[in-house]
Subunit: 155 residues, 4 copies
């Protein structure tokens, strides 16, 4: 468990906090799911260069349903994708952006009548002088939170 | 003023409401600025096809500073771009999406020290079976709200 | 029309821009509706003190459906309220906040099955040393954008 | 470690995924911090009734800096609070709301010149027929993500 402990950055004090509550503390950390995008439609897959030039804007595209399509209806859809960047060696991530997908067919005639839909895909542009990890988090209105990470190097 | 009246869809009841307040009512409508993007850096220029196929997702790119660059610093930056679509002949617009640009260089070392910046440009995907107007609204943290419109046809 | 012209801060150059497009330019300004909250459920009514102390946080509550209730279902609901403040005599508003209401009953069992709903009401806290106008804008997912303004003085 | 394993809902497959990447996968789950609000200013403390009536809206107030004040300047501030609810026994949380605090003193005169600030506190209203856990997540623009949970019962 030593490797496990270290890789997940868990500390003794976290474990103490959990025990002190005498039971389950549901934390958002425990609820953010991950999986293999080749079989799981919910994964917010990040596509960007593996290596970028320092201080030059580059494209980051995030899409749900890369291999297996995800529904887009008034009752069932992806609400948003949030993008973070953790520079290597640093403690705190910064939020690159938050992209909310707001049209899912609703109109005065009822659900799925407007013909207007926002797709669960976005391209943003960012820059950094430090390598690090790009992390995407997304929300499905009925299947909760999902995450995906990709490391980038800087030339 | 007849043409003016009609083009801006103003009604007698709006004018009555203004007069009844006995003075200036500042409304958000009056505060959303517009201008020529070739000389004004704040305009959220929409780029997308002039004509799209019904019910097929197409790309919409919105960028500030298309001709004249806009600053991106901790003290002065573009906060977000919001995208709407008004189907032709309809009364109510739907919001396609809202894209918040959240990294502007802040870190524990102070303003403009992180090297991480989100550019004020986004590409989204939408579909519709009806022609209409795509409208972008953006917010500069010190220069307020700006808008831009582009009409699209459907094949 | 002189009074009308002045109250709405319209300029000759705006009118020229409209004419130059050769027809209707749909602008977001034209689409943000307003009405009497005593009979119209969509109005985002702002409640806060008429006069506040300089540089001291005060409460601002904004609610839709103050007199006439507004539905809250998966198919029909209020998406968000956005709050702005325009200091008196200044040109640019700042955005106080944006409050998105995200739970409207959706679950894996279908629309209106989760029992979890977010009400279209929010209380925020702000401060200012200058009098001015607080402006609320809200979005109904099928009936579009609505606005309301309230002026505040500073002791 | 058995208790630890179960309380954190970790699975063998998560551990395999980590090992397969041959090193550190930075995940957002690992970056969302928590602490004791009596000494840590960043904690988004949730205040609401311990027990609520089924299907009746109740108030939820979330505030940062409950005991130790948090700065609110153009360079250093709280960006937003996001609220989730996980009904007891269910797998997926729903997002109650997202409240962005957008004014931190910026104006054309520079940082901390507008006198207009949004406080990092919000009151929202929600309802549920099921007991569960309310979870708040917040973002400091330089100190990253923080979380707090509170369980509620239903009469």
């Amino acid at each position: 468990m030593g490797i496990f402990w270290k890789k997940l950055k868990l500390t003794q004090s976290n474990l103490n906090a959990i025990e002190a509550c005498g039971g389950e503390i549901m934390k958002i950390s425990e609820l953010i799911q991950e999986s293999d995008w080749k079989s799981e439609k919910h994964v917010p897959v990040v596509e960007c260069p593996d290596s970028v030039k320092a201080d030059k804007f580059f494209e980051v595209t995030v899409a749900i349903g890369k291999e297996v399509a995800h529904p887009n209806t008034t009752a069932h859809h992806i609400c948003w994708i949030s993008l973070y960047f953790l520079p290597e060696g640093e403690k705190f991530p910064c939020q690159i952006g938050k992209f909310a997908f707001n049209s899912h067919g609703a109109s005065v005639k009822g659900p799925d009548t407007s013909t207007v839909y926002t797709h669960h895909k976005v391209t943003a542009w960012m820059k950094t002088s430090k390598p690090g990890t790009i992390i995407a988090v997304s929300l499905c209105n009925i299947h909760g939170l999902w995450q995906y990470s990709k490391q980038i190097k800087v030339d």
